[in-house]
């Protein structure tokens, strides 16, 4: 079981209310997409679930229980938007991943596990000793994903994980996300501004505007028959502005 519930979650920075009573259920073993304008509070919602944003009201529950935020094993992991700041520039990528492993391993099994994780995200295991500066943005983001998976989470929060990636890599990562989800039954909150990407990976989608959820439901229903004007506006602003002739 791994259902993630946000109940009446409210986050304020000073007088600025970023999240305003958000209630949202991420169904277990499903990928829920979260779309919405820049600054609407998508990242803040994810950060609230892992204790990185202060709740002024409400709570976040994992399977009906408050999320564990102590100790070595963390069932919720997060992958961030900005690949340039998501890895410690002074640490080799192998060490960054090792740090997230839930239990201490001996040298050889640890090396094997890091290699497995790197291969999982299509990186050459020989690069484990490289510092992040030697990696391109897309490669760093793949390391960040490997690090999140290292913690063997039941829920993964993915905040714009493909927005800084190449389309070719994006395809591979999206395939990877779906594959992982299918194989391990991960529950995921998948934040993205790209509706086509969300449509492809997510079974459910929630639309956020100005700190509130304005619409949610199965992806095909929401995208085929949007109930609010806001969602229609989002759909209309896809680049190209509509259907495009095929090659």
């Amino acid at each position: 079981m791994s259902r993630l519930d946000f109940e009446d979650v409210t986050v304020r920075y000073g007088h600025h209310t970023v999240l305003d009573g958000v209630s949202l259920t991420v169904p277990e073993h499903q990928i829920m997409g979260l779309v919405g304008e820049s600054g609407s509070g998508k990242s803040t919602l994810a950060r609230a679930a892992v204790g990185l944003a202060p709740l002024s009201r409400g709570r976040v529950l994992l399977d009906g229980r408050p999320v564990q935020s102590q100790g070595r094993r963390r069932p919720i992991q997060m992958v961030f938007q900005d690949p340039s700041s998501s890895l410690d520039p002074r640490m080799s990528i192998g060490r960054s991943i090792a740090e997230a492993l839930p239990e201490r391993l001996r040298r050889a099994p640890q090396r094997a596990e890091i290699a497995r994780l790197l291969r999982l995200v299509h990186l050459d295991p020989d690069r484990a000793a490289d510092p992040p500066a030697r990696l391109s943005g897309g490669q760093r983001q793949r390391v960040a994903i490997a690090r999140a998976l290292a913690g063997r989470p039941t829920v993964v929060l993915a905040d714009e994980i493909t927005s800084a990636l190449d389309v070719s890599v994006q395809g591979a990562i999206l395939n990877l996300v779906r594959e992982m989800q299918r194989d391990s039954g991960l529950t995921m909150l998948f934040i993205s501004h790209n509706l086509a990407v969300v449509r492809y990976v997510a079974t459910h989608v929630a639309v956020m505007a100005a700190g509130r959820i304005v619409e949610q439901g199965p992806t095909d229903r929401v995208f085929a028959a949007p109930a609010t004007a806001y969602t229609r506006k989002l759909l209309a602003s896809m680049p190209g502005g509509g259907p495009r002739p095929g090659p």
């Binding site: 919405g36 304008e37 820049s38 600054g39 990242s43 892992v50 990185l52 100790g71 094993r73 963390r74 992991q77 997060m78 961030f80 938007q81 900005d82 340039s84 700041s85 998501s86 890895l87 410690d88 002074r90 640490m91 960054s96 740090e99 997230a100 839930p102 510092p131 897309g138 490669q139 960040a144 999140a148 290292a150 913690g151 714009e160 800084a164 990636l165 190449d166 389309v167 070719s168 890599v169 994006q170 395809g171 591979a172 999206l174 395939n175 501004h193 790209n194 509706l195 086509a196 449509r199 492809y200 506006k233 602003s237 896809m238 680049p239 190209g240 502005g241 495009r244 002739p245 090659p247």
Partner: protein, 631 residues
Amino acid sequence: MRRRRPEVLRTPLGIVGITLLVILALLAVLAPLVWGDRATATHTDNMLAGPSPEHWAGTDNLGRDILFRTLVATRLSIVLTLAATIFGVGLGLLLGMAPLLLPRRLGRLVVAFVNVLLGFPSLLMVLFLAVILGVSTTSALLAIGIAIAPPFARLVYALGAGVAERDFVAAARIAGVHPLRIMVRHVLPNIAEPLVVNATVTASSVLLAFGGLSFLGIGVQAPQFDWGRLMQDGLAIIYDNPLAALAPGVAFVLTGLALNLTGEAAAGTFGAKSRIRTTRSLTERRSVSPRSNTRDADTDLVLDVRDLEIAFPGPYGPVSPVRGVSIALRAGEAVGIVGESGSGKSMTALAVAQLVEEPGRVTAERLTFCATDLRSGRRTAHDALLGTSLAVVFQDPMTSLNPVMRLGSQLGEAARRHQGLTRRQASARAADRLRAVHLSDPERRLRQYPHEFSGGMRQRAMIAMGLMGTPRLIVADEPTTALDMTVQRQVLDLLQEIRRKHGTALLLISHDVSVVSSICERVLVMYAGRIVEDLPAADLYTQARHPYTRALIGAVPEMTTDLDAPLATIAGQPVDPRHVPDGCAFAARCPRVTDRCRQEEPTLQAGPAGTVACWHVGDPLPAETKEVAVG
């Protein structure tokens, strides 16, 4: 990583500073062993003597040799300085890290406490503490340590808070790494450089403070002696023998100088790393490569780049991430560059903006911006031209925005320098530009720091910064990557609007074919540092002929993509610029590859729509019509 010569040792200041420090360290170790006896031997028959061949700096009131005493005192002076500095720095580290580790409330209390301590003049504090703790060397040491702790604590806190803000720290917290371990492993190493610099400079004031206390008689007590005490002894006889006070004085000055020079030099190298360094290594290349575009010198070109090559030194010979790229842009023209990460798109943009960092070398047969040859001439003249006429919007807004400056000052800075606006005008202009990029409440935003912005907002702030002037060319490197669809649309519309109004040329770099094709007239496709296809954007979806271009187009998920099949991806990895293969660089991933491709490199050839570098554009597709490997 390989160890290099420490950067401190690359500047004359640093060399002098470090050399002095080494000499002092040697003296501290050796002097008491070699001259210890002579420094303490009393000669009642030769008291208060002036300089002589036996006693170069004379003798004191017990007939002891002043020069040797000064040399021998090096050890105590330096040991005490180090001890007090270490104690103070340690205390400062604790006080500075505490607010980052303690619960919020308690942390604030510590910050407030440190701020109160900072209010006391430190000399006063030293005197106060020295009196309270009693007169002894130990209490002087404690007093000085306690006095230097608060400013150091504040520095630790300010720098540490900046690093703690970053995602890798958040990731470690989510992974369940203990906060103390996060401090030691992630935060401290990333702020170590400025802390070391600061501690070095602090040590020189500790030296003086200790000397001062000894001089006043509340530091080192007889029979021990440090330079401060020697100074006091010397002052009593200054009219008989000025050297008695001068010798320890010189020791003070030299040691202070050594510490300060080293600190300054270290600070200089540290600062240089965070600033963008540009190379001035442009050299003309005479050989005309066949790849260079044959268009003649054209005066209404805003940007004219031919056969651009960028090379970095590597362990096995130079590595070239950009190899023979030519781009020409007219006023008002929008050209897009697409390609995977590592294909050299961003490096090309950096070279145009003269921002390639050391040790990169940029060479080109032609590199002309607004009719000015950027390869020669005075640097300052180019800076002014680039500052006003070229706007660069980068992929990663956080690295281009200064985290410790309010947005308003950052936007205003350039406008005030290059356009001579007053502070008020600059701030009005900044607010206007923020409104233009559709940031709500611009006046409030101007007073905020970059970390208070969402990813998308930072990106728009960056674009606003580029628009503070009226640029002739905007180089935008992935400007909308982090933006949601609505804002992306607005930003692209905004760029279009600027182009139309001011005839600004646009070089738009993106990995997203749909973004580039939606606003550019021409699209350049880059692979492994070369342009492999150049065609009108309108023809991109219908006329693209290079297998790589077609694969890029096929990899973008659309609202109609089949949900049951895996997405199309390009098999294999992009080419590592360290190992560029012979022949066509795309060969390893290409569905149409033949032996010829692996041996001979194709060059750009004109076709019905644009130019393309591929041997097999005309050939029919291989058996399966899908050009991209699925998986």
